[in-house]
């Protein structure tokens, strides 16, 4: 089992990728920059489990994004944020 690559506070960016198959990373968050809020734990990779393969156990992070960053036309407060739980292989350092 690999060590967690990111720590709370680390700036990251969600990979902009559009693979086929069973993908749990929502389209709206791909390509967006955020900050690691916490490591949630390590979980089986749903992209493999969906095909009844055990696959790898991967770190899952809760990542915090500014709403203004996610939605260009966002009309709420500047400090509003959204947390999305994302597996490590979808994240890169920002």
């Amino acid at each position: 089992m690999s060590a967690a690559r990111f720590r709370p506070g680390d700036p990251v960016r969600v990979r902009r990728s559009d693979p086929p198959g069973h993908i749990r990373t929502p389209s709206y968050i791909r390509g967006k920059p955020g900050v690691i809020e916490r490591l949630c734990g390590r979980f089986g990779n749903p992209e493999e489990l969906a095909y009844n393969r055990t696959g790898s156990v991967l770190p899952l992070y809760r990542v915090r994004f500014a709403q203004r960053t996610v939605w260009p036309d966002y009309r709420g407060g500047d400090g509003d944020s959204i947390d999305v739980e994302i597996f490590e292989h979808w994240l890169e350092p920002a």
Partner: protein, 101 residues
């Protein structure tokens, strides 16, 4: 390849909060999935994949438990738990029973 479940950020219309009673068959589908999960015959990830992989328009057209039973069926076929022939014969048997009842 954005699938029909991946709705974040798309116009969705108003949310209509309403309660409804579950039909007996819906409760049976729920129970069936719990049992299959306990026996290790269906993973929730497989079920989700098969729900999201329903044919064009089916995700919107089907009701909640209709999606479930379609996906359970697809998973059991993939796993080799049931064959299409077994399912087909059983459906014909049930239909014949209803016709004579």
């Amino acid at each position: 390849m954005r699938r029909p479940h991946d709705l974040g950020g798309l116009p969705g219309g108003p949310v209509v909060p309403s309660e409804h009673d579950f039909a007996l068959w819906e409760k049976r589908v729920d129970a069936l999935l719990v049992l299959l999960g306990e026996k290790g015959l269906v993973r929730v990830d497989e079920l989700r994949r098969n729900i999201e992989g329903l044919g064009e328009g089916a995700y919107e057209r089907y009701g909640y438990y209709e999606r479930w039973i379609e996906a359970v069926t697809a998973t059991l076929l993939e796993r080799g738990v049931l064959t299409a022939d077994e399912i087909g014969r059983k459906l014909a048997e049930l239909a014949a029973g209803q016709a004579t009842a």
